[in-house]
């Protein structure tokens, strides 16, 4: 009996060594942790339960039958983050470069199936060389199994991908279908075809970092929702993110005791909007002063900075925030901002996270670049996303809400539940100058008349009161009471229920 137990121990030890000391050392030299080290700091101490530790590949091509390592390049299992269950898999770069074989894929799908059944988030840590070429179509089929499960799980459990090394070819599409992708700066990259192929096909000389590094995907392509300095920072931030996320689409948001009074008012918000309507201010100050304890997890911080998205808490419960950022491009809605916000809104709606929207938007960005780039459809994504929401929606207009952008930014008419405006709000089809030049076209030559008309327009339309008089907004609130009013609205809406018409699925303008 003792021998048998010892055999188990020995086999476990062998599996845990992965690709061996040398490869582990090489991994460290590259500034990366091994799969097991990553898991150790991702999950609560001693909570990891590993599956399929002894799985080996079945390939007999190219002498692969002689080269087997238990685990086959991916470590899978489940554990907890602050006591809440999480499923996870971590590619092990020290074993066959983390490449995907048929059995490797089956290990992942087993965990995916388990996560979907047990209704808990799944986190994938990527650091791998793509398909295991020796396995041919079996590897490709393996990817497909994984992809299909990504789609089945979408909207049921949160799926998070963290790219912590190479991620290329077939490997990129599973992360691409998850809810969030995060990357590690300098050590990770993602692309469909690598620099060598790029050079052969297009003659373009480009480095892996320039082609698909964190700096590219977190700022230009929007593939990544965030980039971190190193493995440790990335993984600890995933722990922080999980604390904000519901486990699935039925449980509702997690809750913990808040140290921040929901009745707290903040007089400094009364001066947040500058007297000069063309002067920017930082909308993040409002978010940080409204959320519990100033704790805000921003999503896609460095992409389309003219809109801010992220998670905070009010009364200890998760809330998604969407806010135009006057500091960048005056907070205008362009294609990128619309896509970014639309995806975030849909995530929140799928997982029953209430959404608070702060509006200061001068409109949609004009120009050929935007129109050729499909601004109409991208803008429609955000409109669509908000319109189909069934979660509580609370909207506060702080300053400008002009034109179609007013409608799009969670207006009451597209389904928001509680809509407030600050006294500084200007709700109108457009700003004074443009409006006067159209309405009073005949007076354009007369500077005095135009000035008088402008004043008239400003007094009448650039205020929240016309909208308030007609009920398009529910109340004009003092800026200092914003947190209190939002907290009350969210409490009132906590049991909001909307019956949606039966449909197979919608047809969002992709």
């Amino acid at each position: 009996m003792k021998d048998i137990l010892q055999t188990l121990d020995a086999r476990r030890m062998a599996a845990k060594r992965g690709g061996g000391e040398k490869r582990i050392e090489a991994q460290h030299k590259r500034g990366k942790l091994t799969a097991r080290e990553r898991i150790e700091i991702l999950l609560d101490k001693d909570s990891f339960e590993e599956f399929d530790m002894f799985v080996e590949h079945r390939s007999i091509e190219f002498g692969m039958e002689k080269s087997k390592v238990p685990g086959d390049g991916v470590v899978t299992g489940w554990g907890t983050i602050n006591g809440r269950k999480i499923f996870m898999f971590a590619k092990d770069f020290t074993v066959f470069g983390g490449s995907l074989s048929e059995t490797h894929a089956l290990k992942i799908t087993k965990i995916q199936d388990m996560a979907l059944k047990a209704k808990a988030p799944i986190i994938g840590l990527y650091d791998a060389g793509g398909a295991r070429i020796q396995e041919g179509v079996a590897a490709l089929a393996g990817y497909s199994y994984v992809f299909r499960r990504n789609v089945q799980a979408s909207g049921v459990i949160p799926q998070i991908s963290v790219i912590m090394g190479p991620c290329a070819g077939g490997d990129v599409y599973s992360p691409a279908m998850t809810d969030f992708i995060f990357m590690v700066k300098n050590t990770s990259y993602m692309f469909v075809t690598g620099p060598d192929v790029v050079k052969t096909v297009t003659n373009e000389v480009v480095s892996a970092e320039e082609l698909g590094g964190a700096s590219v995907h977190a700022t230009k392509s929007s593939i990544a929702d965030g980039a971190f300095e190193n493995d440790v920072e990335a993984i600890l931030q995933m722990r922080r993110l999980i604390d904000f996320l519901p486990s699935n689409n039925t449980d509702g948001v997690p809750e913990w005791p808040s140290f921040d009074d929901i009745e707290r008012t903040d007089d400094s918000l009364n001066t947040l909007v500058p007297d000069n309507p063309n002067k920017p201010y930082d909308i993040k100050e409002l978010i940080l002063k409204v959320v519990d304890e100033g704790d805000f997890f921003e999503i896609a911080e460095t992409f389309a900075k003219n809109i801010v998205t992220g998670f905070g808490r009010i009364a200890g419960r998760t809330v998604g925030f969407v806010a135009n950022q006057p500091m960048v491009l005056a907070g205008v809605l362009d294609s990128d901002a619309s896509r970014k916000a639309a995806r975030f809104v849909r995530f929140c709606d799928a997982f029953n996270i209430p959404i608070v929207t702060f509006v200061d938007v001068p409109g949609f960005l004009p120009g050929t670049a935007q129109e050729y780039g499909g601004l109409i459809k991208h803008g429609a994504k955000l409109l669509f996303a908000y319109s189909q929401c069934t979660v509580p929606l609370v909207t506060v207009i702080t300053r400008k809400a002009y034109g179609g952008a007013f409608d799009v930014m969670a207006s009451k008419e597209i389904g928001a539940d509680v809509n407030y405006a600050w006294p500084t709000a200007q709700i109108a089809v457009m700003g004074a100058k443009g409006a006067v030049e159209i309405i009073f076209r005949g007076d354009i030559g007369d500077a005095e008349k135009i000035a008088a008309r402008t004043k008239e327009y400003e007094d009448r339309f650039l205020s929240p009161f016309i909208a308030a008089e007609r009920g398009y907004i529910d109340d004009v609130i003092m800026p200092h009471s914003t947190r209190k009013r939002i907290a009350r609205a969210l409490a009132m809406l906590r049991d909001k229920h909307v019956d949606a018409p039966m449909k197979k699925h919608d047809n969002i303008p992709l």
């Binding site: 001693d46 190193n230 931030q237 400094s268 009364n270």
Partner: protein, 671 residues
Amino acid sequence: MFKRILIANRGEIACRIIRSARRMGIETVAVYSEADRDALHVVMADEAVPIGAPPAAETYLVIEKIVEACRKSGAEAVHPGYGFLSERAEFPRALADAGVVFIGPNPGAIAAMGDKIESKKAAAKAGVSTVPGFLGVIEDDRHAVKIAGEIGYPVIIKASAGGGGKGMRIAHSSAQVVEGFNLAKAEAKASFGDDRVFIEKFIVDPRHIEIQVLGDKHGNVIHLGERECSIQRRNQKVIEEAPSPLLDEITRRKMGEQAVALAKAVNYDSAGTIEFVAGQDKSFYFLEMNTRLQVEHPVTELITGIDLVEQMIRIAAGEKLPIAQKDVTLTGWAIESRVYAEDPFRNFLPSIGRLVKYRPPAEISRNDVTVRNDTGVCEGGEITVHYDPMIAKLVTHGPSRVAAIEAHAHALDAFYIDGIRHNIPFLSTLMGHARWRAGNLSTGFIAEEFPKGFTARAPEGEIARRLAAVAAAIDHVLGERKRQISGQLNGRPVAREGGRAVWLDRDEILLDVSRDGDAITVCFVDAGEGAGKAHRLLSRWVPGQPVWQGTLDGHPIAIQVRPITNGFRLAHQGCEVAISVFTKTEAAAARLMPVVSAADNGKKLLCPMPGLVVSIAVTEGQEVKAGETLAIIEAMKMQNVLRAEQDGTVKTIAAVPGATLAVDALILEFA
């Protein structure tokens, strides 16, 4: 007494005057420029009168506008504060013409003391000690030696026509006088075509000491002791105290008597200050008289218990001084530091912007310690380019100098400002400076102690441990809450190791942390003194609060907490450091992480402050030497020259002249 007074000022001093007036039952009227519409003094006053566009030259400095505001608001008297119109003799005259009382000295006194030469003559006539010297023609070197002997060494020989250090010699002996006299003469001749020189006493390591006087309209004048303001940066006072650590009772009385004599000689009838330069040997010489309330008046108020603003108002209303000289007692010690919107890490460049957070320490008076904060701003306020960058004066009072300094250091630790750069790290560092604590001051203090400017200090020793302990306690509170999140698996609670590796940047301190009732206990596990000893931390801090206030082993401490990714930035006693609290497993992993060098920024010239690009002095591809001018940025109406820190080649230029840049915006990049 007046029913209603107007304050012809802004900022902290306007607020401070309103406070005294209100306590006396007097209504207050504020004036404000467009930039000050939401300013604290406007909010505090009973009535506020707008006086125009932001620049001071169009508002606070315009006599007619103030007179008009008095007429509009029905104010019977005007307090000018300091600066602006406070020392303009024509201001009280214009007010008098409009039938409004000026809360300050009579115009004659202002005029008499406003002129540097006239005031010196008046001082000498009143028997005030002035810098000894010989202003006549010096015949030859023998004559010079004779004069120097009479004055006493060291002496300074200066060219009469001179300036800029040319033709200037310091002499400590007769031989040096002979040599210096001839050299100075020759240099003066060469530089200015005029070889006349004069000799004056040279004061080594001078100190700035001033006497507060108070006179009424009935011929009574008293003095309220001295203030020492030797801690100055480029002639701008930074820290003031009362009394002076230099003076003894006899010198104090002599200085006071001379100050009173001068005040009487000019019929002084308000609060005023006679400034002296003092030698380390307690010799003192008249500099000038300020015919107004000084910025640093609160230190005198705290050691005398006399409200100077109240007295100024009473005197202006014709009341007699309520006390005689013999009733004046100096109790304890008071320290004031000036909180400026300027970046101490960037050569004290002015900083503007929104006060996103402004949480001054609580004003308290208990256990012999008083904390007072004269402020003119509030959270959400704006620091603009238009006015003085001083945002507050923190004043503490204690039974002794040490007590006052301790209280001051603690209050600075709790003084939390975000949104703009400020000099609190510098002030905190000064409070802990051994030479300051020893009272061994001179006006050269800052230049001597910080010859290369001010740089951030990494915490060491006791302070490092203190920061590590508090970081661990903060992390513990956060961790306890995390484990109360909903939706946890039933059964086994989350295991949590007690061992922590606290990283101060990359310096590691190992400790064990645990909860013990209301307290959190920390044991340092590394070898060395006190290893294994349990340290108790008690605090009501909860997440979200900007300042951790509590006790560590019974000693009160305040530490500023700013959340950052995976940790906090803690600031304390002038040190600021990014701290991560890791478990041992996390620390082992963190140790494997590559150190990202900050060298990247050395290759970039970033805009040090929000400002306008006046010019770019280099072109792409140009090689530059360290110290060469790269660009000129205008901020706060000041031109700032940005120079190359090291040799290099300009790769790209990102900014164009005329552009407005935010702080840290890229100006140019080196190859």
